[in-house]
């Protein structure tokens, strides 16, 4: 028995000495991340090769707010995607390193887990691929993935998470996967509208908001032709007649098809009251302007969506619609990570 104790002690000492990463405790394991879904929310598609885990999401969140990912360590993803603005920005065009002015309005990241493609023209097929774009864009973080990963590689906690989640040191692979994982947790569906629609709380919306909802759903306004489903978008590409001549080609940038000129991915309306200014270029400062634009039916661009037709709203009805749009704001923090 005495020998048995000696053997165990020696074995333990030697095995600890032979482990790959001595910083990890012996019992260190990663656990699946328990994604909280609101009632009515479908399960988002989580790639098998990048499952949500406690460590991957924690690392992704830390990196999301880490300015060292930008070339001069001045801005992070969170600099243009503010949590208190449903992860959107407050300015029309965000500022990148050295104050460089961005190309388009920073969209909300709420519910990006449901998006089938990314960017306004839809050229990026996954969140993992998307992470590269802002980091390498000269107008945004102006770095490259490998250097960005190197810039944070001396962080012991990051390395510990990286080993736990991915079994490898923090590199470009881990960077893209972990930030994508964190973004997938930004589920939005805890608004009063959701409580009314999915939880049967009939009195949670005011009478004015209910009237606004009825207007929103009405054939006359036709909002739901595109803003439908749980995320209040069908992710289609539409030209809303914002301009007669678009400086930004929109989807045509990707397809070179003139029929796609001025078409952009339909955005979610969730948290719309928090995400001003609006449109791909942030040209509309508030929801009043947005409603007026749609009520006027948009400009007569040849690609203008057939779903857009002018409609009349009296001031009272406009107030109802605005009230409804305000009811789409989440009552809970989108960030599920402690």
């Amino acid at each position: 028995m005495k020998y048995g104790a000696h053997i165990l002690l020696m074995g333990a000492i030697i095995l600890i000495g032979c482990r790959k990463d001595p910083s990890l405790p012996m019992d260190a394991v990663d656990l699946p991340f328990a994604l909280r879904l609101p009632p009515g929310a479908p399960m988002p598609m989580i790639p098998e090769e990048n499952p949500l885990t406690v460590a991957s999401v924690a690392l992704g969140k830390a990196l999301f707010f880490d300015p060292r990912l930008s070339r001069d360590a001045s801005i992070s993803c969170g600099s243009c995607h503010h949590p208190d603005r449903a992860f959107s920005d407050t300015v029309a065009l965000s500022l990148g390193v050295e104050g460089r002015i961005g190309f388009r309005n920073a969209p909300t990241l709420a519910n990006v887990a449901y998006h089938p493609y990314f960017f306004r023209e839809g050229g990026i097929p996954s969140l993992e691929f998307q992470v590269n774009a802002p980091i390498s864009d000269p107008l945004e973080m102006d770095h490259n993935l490998r250097d960005a990963a190197t810039a944070v590689a001396n962080d012991a906690e990051y390395q510990r998470w990286s080993q736990l989640a991915y079994g490898r040191p923090l590199d470009a692979f881990v960077l893209t996967r972990s930030i994508a994982s964190y973004q997938r947790t930004l589920i939005s569906g805890w608004s009063r509208y959701d409580r009314y629609l999915y939880q049967g709380e009939d009195d949670v919306l005011t009478e004015q908001e209910v009237r606004g909802l009825e207007l929103f759903n009405s054939p006359a306004l036709n909002c739901t032709a595109c803003h439908s489903g749980f995320d209040l978008t069908d992710y289609s590409f539409q030209n809303i007649g914002q301009y007669l001549d678009y400086a930004d080609p929109g989807r045509a940038r990707l397809t070179s098809d003139p029929a796609d000129m001025g078409k952009y991915k339909v955005p979610t309306l969730r948290n719309i009251a928090l995400t001003a200014p609006y449109m791909h270029d942030g040209a509309m400062a508030n929801l009043d302007e947005v409603i007026d634009h749609f009520a006027n039916g948009g400009l007569a661009h040849p690609n203008k969506s057939p779903f857009l037709t002018s409609f009349a709203l009296d001031p009272s009805q406009k107030g109802d619609l605005l009230a409804f749009l305000n009811s789409l704001t989440d009552e809970r923090n989108l960030d599920q990570v402690p």
Binding site: F119, G123, E128, N132, A133, N144, L145, A172, R253, L254
Partner: protein
Amino acid sequence: MSLRSRFFLIALSTVLLWGCGPDEEVAPVEPPPPTTGTLRLVIVPQWQGGPFAINEVYNNVSNYRVRFQGIKFYLGDIRMLTGTTSTTVKDIVYFDLHNGSAAAQWAVEPGTWSGMRMGLGVPQVLNDADPIVYPPMHPLDLANGTYWNWANAYRFLQFDGYYDLDGSGTEPFTTGFSIHTGLNACYREFDLDLGSEVSISTGQTTTITLNLAVDRMFYSATDTLDLATENESHGGNLPLALKLTDNTVGSLSVQ
């Protein structure tokens, strides 16, 4: 602790630590003789058959003064041809003509060939992959700055510089052109006749030189690229990108 216990512990430690020790030295083994040869592909930019250099001023086919800042491109899926036989020898190479000629070389199986087939651009299977899979120094490494992050795709050809519509004008140039091709629609496969048979032998380096007639990149037998109106493409001007692609393919010839 008894003497027997101590002895046992020492013996056990020795056995276990032995297991962790370095491998015994192994006598060096002669490397096996090479079974492949080396193909060296050189791109030589030229202007009207003479030397070409970045930042020099030339008059193009429209008699516009042009001064180049950069010409960079990919050649993909390079195959050697003889008769009806086609052998793939390289998936992708990248040429940056900033310093004039540029070269790439790699190991290939020995053989005798009469032609080459390749694509201007990045083959779709490589273009659609996650760019982080490409290691440092790889032609598709993100550090080359050739990736269109908004499109999940590589720029196949970058053609940048300044122009002046006045062919007899003087410095400075104030207007730039920047025509970048990319997206899978711009991948263009073409054949080159090597003129005579080229042999690649085991352990030997064989050089094939391709001339790039930069002046010809502005025109083809049927069309001219007019910088006055065709001076910018970054994915959204496919007709111009395709025109430059076709002109460039027509500009490449075996030396």
